[in-house]
Symmetry: C2
Subunit: 194 residues, 2 copies
Amino acid sequence: MASDRPSFPTRRAQAERNRAKILDAARSAFAGEGSEVSMAEISRRAGVGMATLYRNFPGRRELLEALYIDEIDALCDAARTIEGDTPRAAFITWLRLVLAFVPNKRAIVSELLEHTDHDDPLLHDNRARALDAGRPLLSAAQQANQIREDLNFDQIVQMINAIAKIAADPDYLEPMFQTLLDGLHPPETQKSAS
Amino acid sequence: MASDRPSFPTRRAQAERNRAKILDAARSAFAGEGSEVSMAEISRRAGVGMATLYRNFPGRRELLEALYIDEIDALCDAARTIEGDTPRAAFITWLRLVLAFVPNKRAIVSELLEHTDHDDPLLHDNRARALDAGRPLLSAAQQANQIREDLNFDQIVQMINAIAKIAADPDYLEPMFQTLLDGLHPPETQKSAS
């Protein structure tokens, strides 16, 4: 038994590496090809066998949930660690991460919704977690009078989501996002009201 | 026969008045209650009998189509006659009419789509007609350097539509529209790029 002990951490490290490889492969596969991707394709891309894939994620749903939670974790971490020259710049940088997340989220969430609904605690709680992480960034930018105050955090995120849902290339959407971000300046710093 | 002649224009005028009354009643009923409104309720609100209603519009679909075309006509007329202190003000005023049209359109189009699809010439051609009417207003405002030039007309309308589709009260949506409209200023007139 004693001789087995050193291999425990190694096996565990190996298992964690496999899990990370599967999630990375699944993330890029879903981002590139949407929900068409099969479990076999994910296993191939990750370079792990189907048995390893299913030991980590008994089904597509478990894999999708793990991916979703992973992306939300990344948004929360970013909100805590992000740096910008100004409070506005930090908030805008975080909004850009939210924007980059939307195409991934779309494929993942649309398939998750086949198994669940919008009120499912998984979606609801994780969405709330990401939004709560970003709120202080907006508050700081509004207190510094660098973002207009007639919009709250939810309204800004809803605008981002509404535009991100338009079916078009990122290049086509980019000036639309920039227009929104420019519109977030406090009105008194803009040329005219109209 | 001769004695009947004077009554022809009168009957025709009466028929036109009835048609207008039905369309007005249907417009406000759809705007207020969405697609739940029955033909009987529209007949009651218009103050015309069911026979008159069905003589003008043999079915719901014909009534919805007429309503839709009527609203598009109004947007086209406005684009030709609108006046503003500046080209930007004229364009913004027209966009505000498009915004006001969206809630009506939503109820009408969503029911029309039960009978047809997005590529139906009725929807496609009328949508194109309204957009073509508004394009010169944007061109004039861009030429006067009063609206940013990295967005085209379709992108602006898609942003308006994307936000208008958010399920919320007009008061909640209003600052979101204002943010979009403020963002349409040319970037060099705004405080900073970011």
